[in-house]
């Protein structure tokens, strides 16, 4: 497996505060990777630099072997990155159909039939097809999150970055979401930022733990789970690995 995404020495500070510091990160094509860490560990800052919403203070981002550090957001998305927001960000006053169509059209252009097919496929995969004509603002929060995922699917990305997708979802919705994620994992590379450990443990093939802006540990779910430094970071007990 070749690396689809790679960062070298990626850093970002905010007025002296090191939010992300010298992160070397490699994500092979086809993997489902979870990125975890306590609040304020720099997870969202890190992925914001991956998609280009935030410029790094130093370091580089490589996508499919190409240096994309200087590229604007839309150019990175065109290369095959897709990002779903931590705080739901859909087109509230537009119909679900139009929300997903906007995601599909960038790839498919003016081919109306292909767009229509892609919209129906994406909406039915997240179970929202019957609501296609409703405006996004009429949906429940959980359904809006699913709409975000549908917009991600419709882009047919090579890398799908999901920023806390299960935040605010009910237990039943989380179970459905795990199943959906399992399906998506067969089609694309996924980087999942997630707090819900049951989702992480079941879905991720490999986990990267960030703490104070640095990579604290990396490995299989079992390895990471057993790592005393990770437990310390999460549980706040003295650093036994010291």
């Amino acid at each position: 497996m070749s690396a689809l995404l790679e960062t070298r020495g990626l850093s970002r500070s905010f007025s002296g505060l090191r939010a992300v510091h010298e992160v070397d990160f490699t994500l092979p094509e086809g993997q489902v990777r979870a990125l975890i860490g306590p609040n304020g560990a720099g997870k969202t800052t890190f992925v914001s630099m991956l998609v280009g919403r935030l410029a790094p203070s130093s370091g580089t981002v490589l996508f499919d072997g190409r240096d994309v550090t200087g590229l604007p957001v839309h150019a990175r998305v065109r290369l095959g990155m897709a990002y779903t927001f931590q705080i739901t960000s859909v087109f509230l006053r537009l119909s679900l159909h139009e929300n997903v169509a906007l995601a599909a059209r960038r790839r498919l252009g003016g081919d109306g039939l292909a767009v229509e097919r892609a919209v129906r496929e994406a909406l039915s995969r997240v179970g929202l097809l019957e609501h296609a004509r409703r405006n996004a603002e009429e949906l429940s929060y959980g359904h809006q999150r699913l709409l975000e995922i549908a917009m991600g699917i419709a882009q047919k990305p090579r890398l799908l970055i999901l920023d806390e997708p299960t935040q605010g979802l009910a237990d039943g919705e989380i179970a459905d979401f795990k199943a959906l994620l399992g399906e998506l994992a067969r089609e694309t590379t996924i980087l999942l930022i997630e707090h819900n450990m049951s989702v992480v443990m079941e879905v991720a093939e490999k986990i990267t733990v960030l703490n104070f802006g640095e990579v604290l540990a990396e490995g299989s779910p079992e390895e990471v789970h057993a790592d005393p430094r990770v437990q310390a970071a999460y549980l706040g007990v003295p650093d036994v690995a010291g």
């Binding site: 998609v51 604007p72 957001v73 998305v77 927001f85 906007l102």
Partner: protein, 314 residues
């Protein structure tokens, strides 16, 4: 009836109605309506940027004036006939909107409003500064003998109405076509959620620039025709009130609707026309009407129509 058929029927129906009116209206309302259609074309241009893209410009008079003076000055000083003069006005508007777009779009929100306002003031002052050529405040008349397009005498009220209607229909259907295309849908997406549009891979700057140029060019086209049809170009058309007026027309008629700019222009024109016959405090009445509409129909007349009756209204 499919949605597309309904939309076409409504807008073609409006154009057909306006066409019939040319044959039945007495001279005074015929002249008014010709003026309203040209001004509504200006409002349609404004609406591309404000209503569909969500960018509030306070300086659109510069584009209207660029069209008017591009047309008028090329006739007056270069001896252009009407057709090429119109194209000169169009070109002036396109060029100005490209330059202003490239500079003003580096800002957003309130700063964008201020920057467009300042550019428009600069254009207004430039017209006064070069009074030797533009005759400044006084303006200049475009002689009747020059107001002939393809053998048609544009000073004749019937012809003038007809050309105004042709311009209005062209602007109406071009913008209808634009906003139903993928690129037009992206403008709406930018208006609704710019960050999301960017993260779907759309070049937001390029789309906004396209919207400024389309909007400015349509406004310039309306300005060029206004000068040609009514035979006058003056600096007052570049002044700040001509930047505010299209905003009011679009707000009243319904921002982000195709038919709204026409309804708003018609409403405002007759509101002032009728009340000024009754009292010298007609702007007060116009002001009260504006306040009432803002309170009870905040989405404008066509916007309310869409909300309550016709959800398909584009």
């Amino acid at each position: 009836m499919s949605e597309t058929a309904r939309i076409l029927a409504l807008h073609a129906g409006l154009v057909a109605l306006l066409l019939v009116l040319n044959f039945v209206l007495p001279a005074y309302p015929q002249g008014n309506l010709a003026r309203i259609m040209v001004l509504a074309s200006y409002a349609i241009g404004y609406n591309v940027l404000f209503g569909y893209t969500g960018l509030l410009s306070l300086g659109h008079a510069m584009f209207f004036a660029a069209g008017m003076y591009g047309m008028g000055l090329s006739m007056r000083h270069l001896g252009f006939p009407a057709g090429p003069a119109l194209l000169a006005g169009l070109g002036a508007g396109a060029a100005l909107s490209l330059v202003v777009g490239l500079l003003a779009l580096r800002t957003a929100g309130v700063a964008f409003m201020i920057v467009t306002l300042m550019f428009a003031q600069a254009v207004y002052l430039a017209i006064l500064l070069f009074g030797k050529y533009t005759r400044g405040d006084e303006g200049f008349v475009i002689p009747q003998a020059d107001r002939v397009l393809a053998g048609i005498d544009l000073s004749d009220p019937f012809n003038r109405y007809f050309v105004a209607l042709a311009l209005f229909s062209f602007c109406l259907f071009s913008v209808l076509w634009l906003i139903r295309r993928p690129a037009g849908r992206v403008l709406v997406a930018i208006r609704e959620n710019e960050e999301r549009a960017r993260l779907l891979g759309y070049d937001v700057f390029a789309h906004k620039l396209g919207a400024v140029v389309a909007s400015g060019t349509i406004s310039a086209l309306a300005g060029a025709f206004y000068g040609l049809l009514f035979g006058y170009a003056g600096a007052s058309f570049a002044a700040v009130q001509y930047s505010i007026l299209p905003l009011l027309w679009v707000l009243l008629g319904g921002a982000g609707t195709i038919i709204g700019p026409f309804i708003g222009t018609l409403f405002m024109f007759y509101l002032i026309d009728l009340t000024s016959g009754l009292t010298s405090a007609y702007m007060l009445i116009a002001g009260v009407a504006l306040v009432l509409l803002t309170l009870f129909a905040p989405q404008g007349l066509a916007g309310e129509l869409r909300k309550r009756l016709w959800r398909w209204l584009p």
